[in-house]
């Protein structure tokens, strides 16, 4: 036995060193590139070229508002991962479902003038429909597609969720058509600039951040303080023992999907305010970005999901001009998505468990 284990041990050590030095090489070169890029951008700024101070400010505000929206979607990925240990890739479509269905109500209200006459009520109606539909879709997906696979190897629900994702996309394409539709412009005077802490900010963006913050606090309260939230954390840690304490595990899992869906529904309203355009594929990119945000923050960790979302929003809005422009790369705004995913790779190279992630126990992670 000793003769067979010792060579494998040395070869493992050799491989470990090689990977390690490669990682360090990546880390160092990434840092150097980022520093050179930022220095270059600062130089451009001082020479009076490149974006102006106002443009930088607007980029940061866009980044924050988009980031908060990603964060809300990311919560759904993280919660489901925490409880069931798989990534629900259909979550982007859960978000899109609420968005698509509430568009009908928004258009209707816009056409009969209710939209601009009662902005608050109109937005609340859109919010309720979006949350309701997203919650319903998430719960149905769990009941129909995932529950029968409970206890199956982890890869199987994962692949199934990709199937659910396609199913939802093309179901919505069939019902609503493939054309891109548009939400009416922000109601009332919401689209105007508002003075906030001495800075002029577009009212919609302020509302987006406000709504996201309220939802986060609400979710935190729910998970940390209520009995159902406690049951949820118990199920996430140890399903068997949670059941032994009399917790209904199935119902708790459904609740997890429902709450994640509701958060995606809130994100739907925010998307309607920020970007307006909607089609059956709208859920894909925000879904993938939110998944990225969840991993960035440390999957399974709820504050991490929010933090990851906000950072990702900032990276993709500010990053291209801040880093790439300074490196002399042309047409940087086209590289928004590339920067977002590069940020993910970089964070994971430095911190494999994500920013707030805990070290994963070897026995419960496949």
């Amino acid at each position: 036995m000793t003769t067979t284990t010792s060579p494998s041990k040395t070869s493992r050590r050799f491989r470990f060193n090689w990977v390690d030095s490669f990682l360090w090489f990546i880390r160092v070169s990434a840092l150097i590139a980022i520093v050179i890029g930022i220095v270059g951008s600062v130089q451009l700024f001082l020479e009076g070229e490149g974006p102006t101070a106002e443009q930088w400010r607007d980029l940061v505000i866009s980044g924050l508002s988009t980031g908060f929206m990603y964060g809300l979607i990311a919560l759904g990925y993280s919660m489901v991962y925490g409880v069931l240990g798989f990534i629900n890739f259909a979550h982007g479509e859960v978000f899109m479902s609420g968005l698509m269905v509430s568009l009908i109500a928004a258009t209707l209200m816009f056409e009969n003038g209710f939209w601009d006459a009662n902005p608050t009520l109109a937005l609340l109606i859109v919010l309720s429909i979006s949350m309701l539909v997203s919650t319903l879709v998430a719960v149905l997906a769990e009941r129909i597609a995932y529950r029968p696979l409970r206890g199956a190897p982890r890869l199987i629900p994962l692949i199934t969720s990709i199937g659910v994702s396609f199913f939802l996309q093309y179901a919505f394409a069939g019902i609503f058509g493939v054309a891109t539709r548009s939400y009416p412009p922000a109601p009332g005077n919401l689209g105007n600039d508002v003075e906030f802490l001495g800075i002029a900010i577009e009212g919609t963006k302020l509302l987006v951040v406000g709504v996201a913050l309220i939802s986060m606090v609400g979710l935190w309260w729910f998970v940390a303080k209520t009995k159902t939230g406690r049951a949820m954390r118990a199920v996430a840690e140890d399903k068997e023992i949670a059941g032994l304490m009399g917790i209904n595990v199935d119902r708790t899992i459904v609740t997890t999907f429902a709450v994640g869906g509701a958060m995606a529904g809130v994100a739907g309203l925010l998307w309607a305010l920020l970007f307006r355009a909607v089609d059956f594929l709208t859920g894909f990119l925000p879904g993938i970005k939110a998944f990225t945000a969840a991993v960035l923050g440390g999957i399974g960790n709820l504050p991490g999901a929010m933090l990851g979302g906000v950072l990702l929003g900032l990276f993709e809005n500010v990053g291209p001009l801040l880093v790439l422009n300074g490196l002399g790369i042309p047409a940087v705004s086209q590289l928004k998505d590339a920067v977002a995913f590069a940020a993910l790779v970089l964070v994971l190279v430095f911190r494999p468990t994500g920013l707030l992630g805990e070290r994963l126990g070897s026995e419960d992670r496949a």
Partner: protein
Amino acid sequence: MTSRTPVLSFKGVNTHYGAVHILKDVDIDIYAGEMVSLLGGNASGKTTTLKTILGYVKPTSGQVLLDGEDVSDWPTAERVGRGVTMVPENRRLFKRMTVKENLEIGAYLRPGEDLSSDYDRVFELFPRVKERLAQKAGTLSGGEQQMVAMGRALMARPKVLLMDEPSMGLAPVLVAQNFEIIERINKAGTTVFVVEQNANMALSIADRGYVLQTGKIVLDDTAEGLLANPQMRQAYLGEV
């Protein structure tokens, strides 16, 4: 003690894992206020017996009765609601939650009830738990975790407390302390069913015992009777 309907009983229970026959015609009766031990080595079916009581494993034939009522088809949560609670092997606390939250989860099926007398009882048995309330359960020592695990089970105000290998993974000093506490809980009126490999320890506090061997009950006697039984002494009590 006077009621002749057992609080918990197995009538001719058989269980299978796939084609493997685990429990074979097992009969067990546990009466209110008793302390009963189930002894046996590895793979004798001890854990399966507990899982069958709680409904994680359904018998292929035979009945599981609680207070004389057939609960063989009941889901776990309902059986727990009827007063059966287990302290699992290796404690299995919710490590990322605080000690307080662990205790609260123990009382999950008693919504809206006043729990202050239950907390007092737990703190009286385990003064250490009170000091640790705000701490994450995963940061406690093994002995403290055992206390929280027992406290968590007591919060359900169980009629029958099931203990799965309470001596597992603890230092000998703690094992003795543990059994002392189990005895106190039993004296205070809770029926206790201890599943143990450590036969000496279990029989020192039990009223009666069953010995399980490859799924069959091979001995069924009072604790004194089992301790005196030559077959028992040789096989389980480490005497030649």
